[in-house]
């Protein structure tokens, strides 16, 4: 990662410091550009520094879009689980009320069939994926679905956190780039004035 041509003598470690719990590097904030540039041997040119930070910036940008995609997947998945939970709860309440459920269920695209569900059996089948469907009692099904929902919510929270973190690194990189640029402008100007 640090071997890219434009940052030949600036390693990823020298422009980042530490990482968040899931290993995303933390962009180093430059306190003083002059001494930062001189900390390299030989001192890094502004072009080199800007190149290094632009590189880091585009890596973060790429990661940001990956995370956004992942997050959108979860955003679609959560309501699905919620829908299943509601349905099982409905069946359970019908069982408790000693009623049967009459439903129209989706038989194929655009075709609905009528069915009467005997709720007193207290059985529901959950589609677990990978072509597997298992039979559960209402309470077991609810337990499973709720634990799935909790897990999905937790992961969703982590992704959101990572996304926020990544965006912060993007902003820090951007600010660093423009600061290095302006530092270079001022430096050249004062060099011209004194010559």
């Amino acid at each position: 990662m640090s071997d890219d041509a434009p940052i030949a003598n600036i390693s990823l470690e020298s422009i980042t410091e530490g990482s968040n719990p899931r290993g995303i590097p933390h962009t180093k904030f430059i306190e003083d550009i002059e001494s930062f540039a001189n900390s390299f041997n030989p001192p890094a040119s502004p072009e080199l520094l800007i190149g290094a930070y632009s590189d880091l910036y585009s890596k973060f940008k790429q990661y940001e879009s990956q995370l956004s995609l992942k997050r959108a997947n979860f955003e679609a998945k959560l309501p699905e689980i919620e829908k299943s939970i509601k349905l099982v709860q409905h069946l359970k309440s019908k069982k408790e009320a000693d009623e049967n459920v009459i439903t129209r269920y989706n038989l194929a695209d655009m075709i609905y069939a009528k069915a009467e569900v005997d709720c007193s059996q207290g059985i529901v089948n959950l589609w677990l994926g990978a072509n597997v469907m298992l039979e559960y009692s209402y309470d077991e099904a609810l337990d499973l679905l709720i634990s799935k929902e909790t897990l999905a919510k937790k992961e969703f929270g982590e992704i959101t956190e990572d996304l926020t973190f990544t965006r912060n690194q993007i902003i820090t990189s951007e600010v660093n780039i423009s600061r290095i640029y302006n530092w270079d402008v001022r430096r050249k100007r004062s060099a011209a004035a004194s010559s």
């Binding site: 904030f29 349905l87 409905h90 269920y105 820090t172 402008v185 001022r186």
Partner: protein
């Protein structure tokens, strides 16, 4: 060669600002970016919820004009026969749940805007035209 601001816009000489970006400034800039991203999310979610609430409201109106026969209630991917009372109850519970979520989002939006306004004041005060915090 003139200095440029955060948008890459070239500044005139008197628009330049010598204020150094300190770590606390960077933190403020990052926070501003975060808040702005969250603001967009909150607004999108609250728009969705409002549309959903309208739909439920339409359904409730239809139910009120109903004739007392059974209606089909959509739960998950299937439709269930249900009495009008049950369906009305279901709608009311849904409205309550979503309205609470919407109220939460609205107050969050207010808090975000307030905090952003505060940050804007501080950052513009320090950096003048060297920084651009407006929506593109």
């Amino acid at each position: 060669m003139p200095e440029a601001n955060s948008e890459g816009m070239i500044l005139t000489k008197d628009e330049e600002n010598d204020a150094e970006v300190r770590r606390e400034d960077q933190d403020k800039i990052n926070e501003f970016g975060q808040l702005n991203a969250r603001l967009h999310e909150v607004r999108a979610q609250s728009k969705e919820l409002k549309e959903l609430l309208e739909k439920i409201d339409d359904a409730s109106t239809e139910l009120m004009m109903g004739s007392g026969s059974t209606v089909m209630l959509c739960l998950g991917d299937a439709l269930f026969e249900s009495t009008e009372e049950d369906a009305t109850e279901f709608c009311e519970a849904e409205v309550e749940r979503h309205q609470a979520a919407l109220d939460g989002l609205d107050s969050e939006e207010g808090e975000i805007l307030e905090r952003m306004a505060g940050l804007k004041k501080v950052l513009y005060g320090r950096f003048g035209k060297s920084i651009n915090l407006e929506e593109k």
